[in-house]
Subunit: 327 residues, 2 copies
């Protein structure tokens, strides 16, 4: 891009207020330089959002910025890491200030909220897309991975499930409901809260964790595969919002099915031993985030859905009810 | 992308052999986890290459992969950092194995050569582009920044300058020459060698450094601005390859002008005090990389081009011969 176009972008990137003590050198040299405290590991996650694939070309740039950064922060939360730094690669067809201004405002508002400093990136000309690499810090040996679930552990999720899918259906005009409800659910889709404080609180307590990005039945399988266990979920225990139930006109089964398959929730799903129930209650009390036990870790492989103790026979994308095996 | 498409990509990503001891967790969890040794800083650089902007859509994917990674490694070299980890965000219109296979082969060949492990990334559907975030390690306090140049320092470059611009002109059919020469210069454009061993050797010796990505007259100004000095370059001292002179039919002035403006050279430009001349000679002897003193740091601001001691009056993009001032 031409020099003056860079200047425009730099103007917007200067919006950020966050300056961290551990950033030795930020934007303006060949690399950023950061300082990692002793006894901490660095957690790193990269995600791309591409116009036309992950968001509509005419989507509100404030929502796009929020979603791009929030989904990355959520990956840090799922590891129990504290967010620290972000690199932003932004590809734009043209320098459109009407797009850039709300994008940057939203991006830095969220970055500042989580004490994240923009340390570098690249701005290029091309079809609209955003690639972020976020980095966070986690004490050595305390990262929450997907591989530590043990048979007998409880399975939990934070918040409610299903709202994001309802919001997406409304955005895509696949469903309709009243204005107030539409506003709430669309915002839930775009503006999920990364559960950073929960992830931090779960260090040393949870045996495995991840964030729900593809739907809990798809995501929970990753824990199963990496931990070499099966997961049993009781659909009656799925946490459902009043708004989701209203969206489903009170059809509880429809709400449960949405809750099981709803992606981009950015709630955490985690496992913890029954012996840690009290520790969990204590650790999460100060986070003000609700959490629900939705099932347990069992021997075998796969995912079993139960309703009132009996296997359900629902047909759901990403789940095969014949799949739990002893191997 | 569909699940089986991910499997195809994973197949190619499994090509890598590099496994570093400091990678606690690589691909497969919410984040990668890495271990940073005490007394080291992490250097981080992000670059995007977009089809149609940075390379032709039909460019050889092996060259594209090489260039994307090499340009990022070069940023680490310019900081005096030792490469360690890379995250790859790859956006593809379709899963084209005929494109992916040579891309991955070339990517991992270069990554392995520099002991770099792929720790994560994202594969998405959309217009072809590649965003890399590379990370390296540099001992605390020894990073080579752009801001340390002092009046009286010598100004150096590694290798030769101008070959990349000549190669690009040949690729774009703006120039023509014989087949052997074309092959050499095109390869110089696509396959520059990042000067990692030089960067490492310059720790504690160079006062400032960067890599030449926009042309030495554009890049050297960054040292001037960040160090609040001016730079004087003697065009007769520019290192020119025999191939560049042949490309220019022996026209030395044309070759010098190409050398001054040629981008994507990925040679290092650095400054060092005259007191460090012997130390520099010793430190770079084992690297087998040629280096040339092309000028010196002077008081003021801007860039002065000299030929046999007299200011030149060439018109060059990115350089204004009236620009050296006392402020």
């Amino acid at each position: 891009m031409a020099k003056n176009e860079f200047d425009i972008i730099n103007h917007y990137f200067a919006h950020q207020q966050q300056q961290r003590d551990d950033v030795v050198l930020a934007i303006g040299d060949d690399c950023a330089l950061v300082d990692v405290p002793a006894n901490y590991h660095v957690a790193i996650s990269t995600d791309s959002l591409v116009a036309g694939t992950h968001f509509l070309v005419d989507a509100d740039p404030a929502f796009v910025a929020y979603k791009a950064l929030a989904s990355n922060i959520s990956d840090l939360a799922a590891m129990g890491a504290t967010p620290a730094w972000v690199s932003l690669a932004l590809t734009l067809p043209t320098i459109d200030e009407a797009w850039l201004a709300p994008f940057c405002h939203s991006f830095f508002e969220l970055a500042n909220r989580y004490n994240i400093q923009l340390i570098g990136g690249d701005t290029t000309k091309g079809p609209l897309s955003i690639t972020l690499t976020v980095q966070g810090l986690v004490p050595r040996g305390q990262a929450l991975t997907r591989s530590g679930a043990q048979v007998g552990d409880d399975v939990y999720v934070t918040g409610n499930l299903g709202d994001s899918a309802a919001g997406l259906a409304l955005i895509l005009n696949q469903s309709q409901c009243d204005q107030r409800l539409t506003k709430v659910l669309v915002e839930r889709h775009f503006k999920a809260h990364p559960r950073v404080n929960v992830g931090e609180a779960l260090r040393g307590i949870a045996s495995a964790a991840l964030d729900i990005s593809d739907g809990v039945i798809a995501d929970v399988k990753h824990i199963g595969e990496r931990s070499q266990v099966a997961i049993e979920v009781d659909v009656e225990k799925l946490p459902l919002s009043a708004e989701l139930l209203a969206f489903c006109d009170g059809d509880c089964q429809q709400a449960q099915q949405l809750a099981l398959t709803s992606g981009e929730e950015y709630e955490l799903c985690f496992t913890a031993s029954k012996a840690n129930r009290d520790a969990l209650k204590m650790a999460l009390a100060h986070t003000n985030v609700k959490y629900s036990c939705i099932g347990q870790v069992i021997a075998g492989r796969g995912l079993l859905l139960l309703q009132l103790g009996k296997p359900v026979s629902w047909k759901l994308s990403g789940w095969d009810h014949f799949v739990v095996t002893n191997k």
